[in-house]
């Protein structure tokens, strides 16, 4: 478990892992999605963001994951200010600091489960075979390594997605309705695994959900309504 401790140490050096200050975002030709949102997340902390459909939760998540730019305010991710970054700077940050889990799993269909699992880590240049083996075991994917995503059930696919996200030992895991496509049993199992793994690896978790039940399991929660934190 050497890798695991090392990861925890790395994260412990930073106080606020994610700092969102007064961020606004408007898509061209549409009403403002976010209006002066501020939020922060400490290292290793888990935060649930809830809100109605169209309240801007996914957008906020995307902005936090350096997937898209914002109009005003500032987001600081692991000490890096996102507003000053260009395309490749944002890409580097995505590779290095954050990992994403989506409702649709969004695995790479042409790669096997094993390849999907290690893809992000290898992309980030932080492949740790021992950690990946550990993850694979914990996620119960040991038998499925040679399969392709389309041959898996939804729950299995989401476990691969979580594994892919955590394999790179990101400081921050962003999850967008990760159980939205799963039934209740699968959903609980996936949540258990995810929470356990972020705890073990000391990763901060920023999770968007509309489910009170899931939100209740996280350290903290924030509610977004009409583009503002309620």
């Amino acid at each position: 478990m050497a890798g695991l401790e090392m990861g925890a140490n790395l994260v412990a050096q930073e106080a606020a892992m994610l700092q969102i200050e007064d961020v606004s975002k408007t898509y061209p030709g549409a009403r403002p999605v976010l209006q002066g949102v501020s939020l922060h997340l400490d290292a290793g902390e888990t935060l649930a963001l809830t809100g109605e459909s169209g309240s801007g939760k996914s957008t906020l998540l995307h902005l936090a994951g350096a997937l898209d730019g914002f109009d005003s305010g500032e987001i600081t991710l692991a000490g890096t200010r996102l507003s000053g970054l260009d395309d490749s700077g944002r890409a580097a940050l995505r590779r290095g600091c954050v990992a994403l889990v989506f409702q649709q799993f969004n695995l790479i269909p042409s790669l096997t489960v094993a390849q999907n699992l290690s893809f992000h880590a290898r992309l980030a240049g932080r492949q740790d075979p021992a950690w990946i083996r550990d993850l694979t075991d914990r996620l119960g994917l040991g038998e499925l390594g040679a399969r392709y995503p389309e041959q898996l059930s939804g729950g299995q696919q989401q476990r691969v997605a979580i594994g892919r996200a955590l394999a790179a030992r990101p400081a921050l895991l962003l999850a967008d309705e990760p159980t939205g496509n799963l039934d209740e049993t699968a959903s609980d199992a996936v949540m258990d695994l995810m929470l356990e793994l972020v705890r073990v690896s000391g990763t901060a978790l920023f999770l968007v959900t509309h489910s009170e039940r899931i939100a209740a399991r996280l350290d903290r929660r924030a509610h977004l309504s009409g583009g503002r934190i309620a």
Partner: protein, 804 residues
Amino acid sequence: MIGAALQALASHWRRHPLQLGTLLAGLALATALWSAVQAINAEARASYARAASQIGGATLDVLEAPGGPMSRARYVALRRAGWQLSPVLEGRTRLGEEQVTLLGLDPLTHPPLPAFEAAMQADQATLAQMLTQGGLLLASPELVSALKDVPGLPPLRASDSVPPGMVITDIGLAERLLARPDQIDRLLILPQQPMQLTPLDQLAPDLQRRASRAGADTARLTDSFHLNLTAFGLLSFAVGLFIVHGTVGLAFEQRRAMVRTLRALGLPVWLLAALMLAELLALALVGGLLGLGLGYLVAAALLPDVAATLRGLYGAPVAGGLSLRPSWIVGGLAMALIGTLAASAQALWRMLRMPLLAAPGLQAWAQRAAQGDRRMALAGLGLIAAGIAALALIKGLIGGFALIAGLMLGAALLLPPVLAALLGLGRHLTRGPLGEWLWADTRAQLPGIGLALMALLLALAANIGVGTMVSSFRLTFTGWLDQRLVSELYLTARDDAQGAEIARWLAPRSDAVLPIRAAEFTVQGNPVTVYGVVDHPTYRDNWPLLDRTPDAWAQVNAGQGVFINEQLARRADLWPGDVVQLAPGWVLPVAGVYSDYGNPTGQAITALPALLTHARAVPNRRFGVRIVPEAVPDLIEALRAKFDLPASALIDQAGLKSRSLAVFDKTFVVTGALNLLTLGVAGFAILTSLLTLWSLRLPQLAPVWALGLTRGRLARLELARSLLLATFTALLALPLGLALAWVLLAVINVQAFGWRLPMYLFPLDWLRLFLLALLAAGLAAALPARRLYRLPPSELLKVFANAR
């Protein structure tokens, strides 16, 4: 209900104008190249028919003197014996800058000539003018405009009925222009003869009556050429249909949801299918019309070269102008409709069988692809085997083309499985996540882009194959010309008497005067020209023999053997050791076989004395003259001055060679142009595949982007992917192209022309083509790549949106 459904269906095209454009463009391209070839063929055939009717050669028998022209008195004597004949004097001559065939006729006795009739419709004085001193030259409009400023020519009259390169005029004027007074080359035997005639073989036993075969010959000779063009047209059509297939497939795929909704709303599936069929047919009609317009332009651009080819290769007269034929329009539209149906059948069928409620299935590409690969590989191998079997069973030109079709289609079907294997191999050799992903993802993309790659494969292979054939032919032809055209000067005298006079005059002024004398014989029902040669080192040292007996030349020079050309050897299956009967009582062993390119008919060579014993009245008008090359210009001058020979009667070796090569090069211009067009269509097929795949690609690219790749990097990878596929395809096209070249050289050429050519390899051409293929693929991929590069992140994020 129908109106609403139609509106819903049409809305798809409004939302995807690019897809609509691609579909129409694919249809238009397919129809265009096909109908262009058809237009060219139709025009050429019409030209043959016109020429045949113009010269009256198609139907009328002809009376000829074997030893050269006959006298006018001979003609009059036969007329006075009651025979209805019409005299023809024909010769090549130079008018201004133009080398023309001058056809001198007697308008009073000649059967009705379209050219005359048309000219007289325009002006009643035509015939009178033609017969009186001033005279009148009838020629095609092109030739008239080329000749109109030549000083000293009789008045010109344009007529569409005159074959290109030919001038028709009164025989009296032709005598003067050809400087052949009192001569007649042949007599047409008119269809209606009076009763109580004395038979011709009593009246004129020395004249030979032969059934005219000019028209039939042209048709027979050029059939292979037209079959060639048609094959090319069909190839282009197939390549174009790949585009249609891809686009229609995508459009149907994208409309699944709509179809499901419409059906859920109560629209019967058959009605829906009918509506979609109607929609397709309407699109096919529009695309077909566009294609016809485009095809007309292509044909008009290519026809002059085709005409040159046919004139050069076969002496077949073809006009350079194009006319619109209703049958062509109907045929082109029919092809567009049939092609659209064929290309859309699969998509329609799938839609008909689609269950109402099933969710859009996840792409089970891995299993499907592996299964499909196996099936395609088997089908491909089967097609190739069928092609080979076809050649073995059918033989002949059709068999050869069947082999080509089997080879090409089989190879096309083999392409995706082979590419898949190659990509799999590449993946195993690659380290690094991006590399792995690139190989794997390219592999996954194959089903979508495979058809376009097949099109590219076919286009490239055709290019390599035909290019290799043409270049091999040219190399062989050049070498052969060097061997064959040894004499420094070639001359043609007006008649036998002048020939003898010139030979006497030349004897002390040259190293050797070699008579070129020949007579027509029939071998196995086909005409064969038998040449008699004198024993001279010129022949022994240079004649290009493909196969020979050990003492071949001694045999031939003794009149105890005969050389036959390759065409005759292959057609009649005669080889050294066999004997050939040239005439009753004249049987000679075959001493050798020589190559004889550019000549469609059979030929043989033996000793001159032997020929003279077996043939009556062998003309003695043509000679090859051996002399130091420096002396040739002076000799030409002297001959011209002394014997009043026209320029066309004296040709030096260099002139003859360059003329032959010019004809050769012109011959294959069209092939080259069609080749490039096909490659262009293949490039377009790749572009359309990539564009239609676009919306399917995003969900695959977005996760990779989200995991930390810039859009620029992704775009470059997309470009690389396309180049990778093109590279593999081009590499696979090389062996296919070479196989095609071999079939063309060793099978098709033998069947079509009667000669087999050695195959040479031209790696520089391959490199050029390879780069061209990469350029085509690169250009095709550049557009979608650029689009990806510029795509706003919000578009990519839509892939992850929850509400789907």
